[in-house]
C-alpha cells in the first residue's frame, strides 16, 4: 500500500512534468535536418547589439564558406572569356574596403562599369559592418526592410539585383545555377550549407549575404584608442576634437564617433555640396519628400582612406578635396540638411593645420587588419579548379 502511494505520486509528478515540457514545446519550430555550424559572431566593443540577420538566413560557417567562393567567382557571370567575367569582387575589392577603388585599372576614376559598358548610377559603397545596418542600403536607401517592393528588402536582394543588372554583372539566375551545377564541388558546398545539393539562386543570395555580413572592421587605431590599448597622436586627437565639436568641423552628427563607432548613421543628408540637382536617383526618388532632393547616405568613414573616389558620383578624388569642400564651399540651399549649420558661413573654415589634424584623425580610422584579413580574401583555390 505504501509502495503504491509513492508509485502513484511519482506517476502524477511525471505526468505534470511531461505536460509542462509539452506545453513549452508548442512554439518551437522543428529543427533543420542538416547539420550546420553556427558562425561565432563577436560584437566588438561599443558596437550595436542589434544585428541585421534575417530569420530565414542565419549565419553559418558553411554558408559563409560558400558565400566567399561565390563572391569571388567570375564564372557565375556565365562567360568564359576571363576579361568578360564579373563577380561581386570586381567592384568590391578588399584592398579598397570592398569598394571599386580609384586606382582600379578596370574603371575610369573608380566608377564601375558593368557588362554592357555602362556606368552604375553611383560609385560603389564599401561593404563593411553591414550587419549593423538596420536602416537602408544604397546611396539613396532603395533597399530597406518594409519596402513596399518586397524584392528590395535586404542584402540578399542586392545580390540578386547585382547579378541581373546589365550595368553590373549582367547575367540571369538560370545561367548562374547552370554554371554552379556544372561544378561538382559547388554541389557539395551547397549541401553542407543548405542541406541540399540542389542549387537554387535563392541560396546563392543567402550564401553571399552571409559572407558579406561577416565583413567586420573593428580594429583601427581609433578602435584601439577607445579600448584603451593605444594612444592617438596629438594631431589625431586634435582632429578627433574637431570631428566631434560644433565649433570645430562637426562631422559627428552624421558620421558618428566614440558613441557611434560605425562612423555612419546610415541616414540621408543633403550636405550642401551643390545647388543644382541633376541626379534623378537621389533620396527624393525613394522617399518622395521634396526636402530629400540631393540627399544621399552618410557613408561610414571607417577605412575612408581607401574609399576614394568620394561622394555618390565620385566627384572628389582625394580626402583633401573633401575636407576643402566642407571647409569652404558648403552651399546653403532650400534643401540643405539643417545639420549642415556651417552652411551659414559657407563651411567650417578650417585652418591648414586643422585640416591636417582632421585628416590624420580620419586616417586613424583605417583598419589594416580588415584590408588584409585572409578570411575575407579570395580563396587560393576556387571550386573545380
Amino acid at each position: 500500500m505504501k509502495l503504491n502511494s509513492y508509485t502513484l505520486l511519482f506517476a502524477f509528478w511525471a505526468l505534470i512534468i511531461m505536460g509542462l515540457v509539452s506545453c513549452q514545446k508548442q512554439n518551437i519550430e522543428e529543427p533543420v535536418t542538416y547539420n550546420t555550424t553556427a558562425y561565432d559572431f563577436e560584437i566588438p566593443y561599443g558596437f550595436p547589439t542589434m544585428l541585421n540577420i534575417p530569420d530565414d538566413n542565419p549565419i553559418t560557417v558553411e554558408g559563409v564558406e560558400l558565400g566567399r567562393y561565390l563572391f569571388y567567382d567570375g564564372r557565375l557571370s556565365g562567360r568564359t572569356n576571363p576579361d568578360e567575367q564579373l563577380s561581386c569582387s570586381s567592384c568590391h575589392q578588399q584592398q579598397y574596403a570592398f569598394e571599386a577603388g580609384i586606382e582600379n585599372p578596370n574603371f575610369k576614376n573608380g566608377h564601375p562599369r558593368g557588362f554592357n559598358g555602362e556606368q552604375t548610377h553611383h560609385v560603389t559603397l564599401p561593404l563593411m559592418n553591414l550587419i549593423w545596418n538596420n536602416s537602408a542600403y544604397g546611396w539613396n536607401g532603395n533597399v530597406f526592410k518594409g519596402n513596399n517592393n518586397g524584392n528590395l528588402n535586404n542584402i540578399e536582394d542586392i545580390v540578386r539585383v547585382s547579378f541581373m543588372a546589365e550595368n553590373e554583372i549582367g547575367t540571369d539566375t538560370t545561367t548562374v545555377v547552370e554554371v554552379l551545377n556544372s561544378i561538382d564541388e559547388y554541389q557539395k558546398l551547397f549541401e553542407k550549407a543548405f542541406g541540399s545539393s540542389k542549387i537554387t539562386f535563392k541560396n546563392v543570395e543567402r550564401a553571399i549575404a552571409q559572407f558579406v555580413r561577416t565583413l567586420v572592421s573593428s580594429n583601427s587605431k581609433f578602435d584601439r584608442y577607445l579600448r584603451g590599448e593605444e594612444q592617438l597622436t596629438q594631431s589625431e586627437m586634435n582632429g578627433y576634437v574637431l570631428f566631434t565639436t560644433e565649433e570645430g568641423a562637426d562631422c559627428f552628427h552624421c558620421h558618428g564617433g566614440g558613441g557611434n563607432p560605425l562612423f555612419t548613421t546610415h541616414l540621408f543628408y543633403n550636405n550642401g555640396k551643390e545647388s543644382t540637382f541633376t541626379d534623378e536617383f537621389d533620396r527624393l526618388f525613394i522617399s518622395g519628400d521634396p526636402m530629400d532632393r540631393g540627399a544621399y547616405k552618410a557613408t561610414s568613414l571607417r577605412n575612408i582612406k581607401y574609399q576614394a573616389p568620394y561622394m555618390h558620383d565620385g566627384r572628389f578624388k582625394t580626402l583633401e578635396e573633401v575636407i576643402d569642400m566642407y571647409s569652404h564651399s558648403v552651399l546653403i540651399t532650400p534643401v540643405v540638411n539643417p545639420l549642415m549649420h556651417h552652411a551659414n558661413t559657407n563651411g567650417v573654415q578650417l585652418t591648414p593645420q586643422e585640416k591636417t589634424d582632421l585628416l590624420n584623425f580620419l586616417y586613424s580610422l583605417t583598419d589594416e587588419d580588415f584590408i588584409n584579413d585572409p578570411r575575407f580574401a579570395k580563396p587560393n583555390i576556387m571550386p573545380g579548379e
Binding site: L20, P48, T49, M50, N260, P290, P338, N344
Partner: protein, 262 residues
C-alpha cells in the same frame, strides 16, 4: 504521507498556473502611457517667434526620464524603474508613445513629472549602443553622455535668406579665457504636468496626450533671436541655459483618455 500528497498537490497547482502564464490581471491596478505630439513640425517657414524670426522645424529628437506620479497626499510613485529613459523622435512614430510597464494602484493622482533629458547619474557615455538612441551621443570632450534634445530647422535671417540651426541641448561647458574647458554644467530639468483627470482606473490604460509646444522654446521667458544665437549652441552654456529656462513650459498635458487593457 498525507502531508506529502497535499503539499505536492498545492505545488502542482501553483506550477501549472505559473507555467501556463494564466495569472489573472490584478484588477486593482491600471496602466499608464504618455503619447507625445509636437505643435510645430513642418518643412515650411510658417512659424514666427517673439523675436520676429520666421522658422521651420525639420526634426525633433529628445529623451525623457525619471517619470513619477504624485498623489494628493504627496506620495510619489517612481515608474519604469528599470528602463527609465524614453527616446522620442518625430521621424519615428513608434517612439511617440511611452508605454509604462508598471501596474499602478488605482486612484486619483494630481500630477505626473519627468526629467527633460537625463540626469548625471544616468547620462553615461556608451549607455546606448543601438540606434537611434546611440546617434544621440554627446561628445566626450563636451561632457559626454547624450544630447537631451536635437531640434533642427531653418530660419529666415534679416535679409530673408534661409539659415540652418541646430538647437541642441545637453551638458554645457564653462571655458577659461584661453578657451579651455574648466567645468561642466548639468542642464536637465523637471517637467510637471497637473490634471484633475489624472486617474488610474481599474483594468484600464490611462493615456496622457502630452504636447510639446515647440514655439515656446523660443519665446518665454527668454526671447530667442536666431540672428543673435546663430546655428549652433552646444558649446555655448549661456545659450543652453536660457533655452532650458524656456523649456519649463513647453509641455502641455492636453488630454487624458482611458482605454481598456488588452
Amino acid at each position: 504521507m498525507k502531508i506529502i500528497r497535499i503539499t505536492s498537490f498545492i505545488i502542482i497547482i501553483l506550477i501549472s498556473n505559473y507555467s501556463c502564464n494564466n495569472v489573472p490581471e490584478n484588477k486593482s491596478f491600471g496602466k499608464l502611457e504618455l503619447v507625445f505630439s509636437h505643435s510645430v513640425y513642418a518643412d515650411t517657414f510658417n512659424y514666427v517667434n517673439e523675436a520676429g524670426n520666421r522658422f521651420m522645424i525639420s526634426e525633433i529628437q529628445y529623451f525623457v526620464s525619471d517619470i513619477k506620479l504624485y498623489t494628493d497626499s504627496k506620495d510619489t510613485i517612481v515608474l519604469d524603474k528599470y528602463k527609465d529613459i524614453h527616446y522620442v523622435d518625430t521621424d519615428i512614430p513608434d517612439s511617440w508613445t511611452y508605454n509604462l510597464d508598471d501596474s499602478i494602484a488605482i486612484g486619483k493622482y494630481n500630477k505626473v513629472s519627468f526629467t527633460f533629458g537625463i540626469n548625471e547619474k544616468k547620462n553615461i557615455s556608451r549607455r546606448f549602443v543601438n540606434p537611434p538612441e546611440s546617434f544621440m551621443f554627446w561628445p566626450e570632450f563636451l561632457g559626454g553622455g547624450y544630447h537631451y534634445m536635437k531640434l533642427n530647422g531653418k530660419w529666415l535671417d534679416s535679409f530673408d535668406h534661409p539659415k540652418v540651426f541646430n538647437f541642441h541641448l545637453g551638458i554645457g561647458q564653462n571655458y577659461d579665457e584661453n578657451g579651455n574647458i574648466i567645468s561642466f554644467e548639468q542642464n536637465y530639468f523637471e517637467i510637471e504636468l497637473e490634471s484633475d483627470d489624472l486617474v488610474i482606473v481599474e483594468g484600464k490604460l490611462t493615456q496622457l496626450q502630452v504636447l510639446m509646444q515647440v514655439e515656446n522654446w523660443f519665446n518665454s521667458p527668454n526671447v530667442w533671436d536666431f540672428n543673435y544665437y546663430g546655428g549652433k549652441i552646444m558649446q555655448n552654456q549661456k545659450a543652453i541655459s536660457l533655452a532650458c529656462e524656456n523649456g519649463h513650459d513647453v509641455f502641455l498635458l492636453k488630454s487624458v483618455a482611458y482605454k481598456d487593457l488588452n
